[in-house]
């Protein structure tokens, strides 16, 4: 039997470390979008807490922690990243496995905010975008999900097909920030 080895979206592209910023690819585990049926928001949140120990995230927020995180992912949608979504959730929400659809990277370092300021049209500084905040926005021309996971670290998800573009755009921005000294 041949053992197939999965190729990660950013294989050969990351990690990068330029100036005060590092970018690494992360394996988030299983990604499942959870879209509550009409009027089932509360029941979905209760089921998520019972099954995975975290609330359904409020608008522009994420709940949970590394290893098992629920990220707000659009209107009436969250992305569960980590464990396979418990089957009991299917009673209240539409569940879709999206594990292989996204490239996930963590951008960290003292100048991470400065690098992302060159690519993202929203204010990601700590005062406006604290740990646990999440947004759907753009990275250059790519639709992305951005979550602040710490004082100097951001989790960024883009479509898997955009992995090379993401790595390229981040590298250019990191070089530009580093060149300013």
């Amino acid at each position: 039997m041949v053992e197939l080895i999965a190729k990660s979206p950013c294989a050969g592209l990351l990690p990068l470390a330029i100036g005060d910023v590092q970018v690494v690819e992360v394996d988030l585990g299983v990604l499942t979008s959870i879209a509550p049926y009409a009027g089932q928001g509360g029941a979905t949140s209760d089921a998520l807490r019972a099954a995975h120990g975290m609330r359904f995230p409020k608008l522009n927020r994420a709940t949970g922690k590394d290893g098992a995180r629920a990220i707000w992912f659009g209107r009436d949608m969250a992305l569960l990243a980590g464990p396979p979504c418990d089957a009991s959730m299917a009673e209240h929400a539409a569940l879709t496995d999206q594990s292989d659809a996204w490239a996930s990277v963590v951008v960290s370092g003292a100048a991470a905010e400065d690098v992302l300021a060159r690519l993202v049209p929203i204010d990601l500084r700590q005062a406006h975008f604290a740990t646990g905040h999440a947004a759907r926005t753009l990275v250059k021309h790519m639709a992305a999900s951005i979550t602040r996971t710490g004082p100097e670290s951001f989790l960024i998800l883009v479509f898997r097909s955009m992995a090379r573009t993401l790595a390229h755009d981040l590298k250019e921005a990191m070089e530009a920030v580093a060149a300013r000294g």
């Binding site: 659009g74 759907r136 753009l138 639709a143």
Partner: protein, 86 residues
């Protein structure tokens, strides 16, 4: 130009997709004239108009944006969903 998405907050124009004027859809049996107008005939007012936009690169919601084409003032943004339920 910035639009204040009721879900995401104030966001840059480049996150949005523009659809066109927010029109009331005629009933299926409204007749050829009503459907012809709905499909093809547009006013081009200098002033306030209601338009459909989608927060394409954000939450994905469809929005009704009230906007003044003379002054570029954005007068209001609401969810299509809320308007449909109102």
């Amino acid at each position: 130009m910035r639009l204040t998405c009721p879900i995401c907050g104030a966001r840059d124009r480049r996150e949005f997709y523009y659809q066109g004027e927010a029109l009331a859809r005629p009933a299926p049996g409204a007749g050829a004239e009503a459907w012809d107008e709905y499909l093809h005939l547009r006013d081009n007012p200098a002033g306030v108009r209601r338009e459909l936009w989608q927060h394409e690169a954000g939450c994905g919601a469809w929005l009704v944006v009230e906007r003044n084409t003379s002054t570029h003032e954005v007068l209001g943004v609401s969810l299509v969903l809320d308007e449909a339920q109102a």
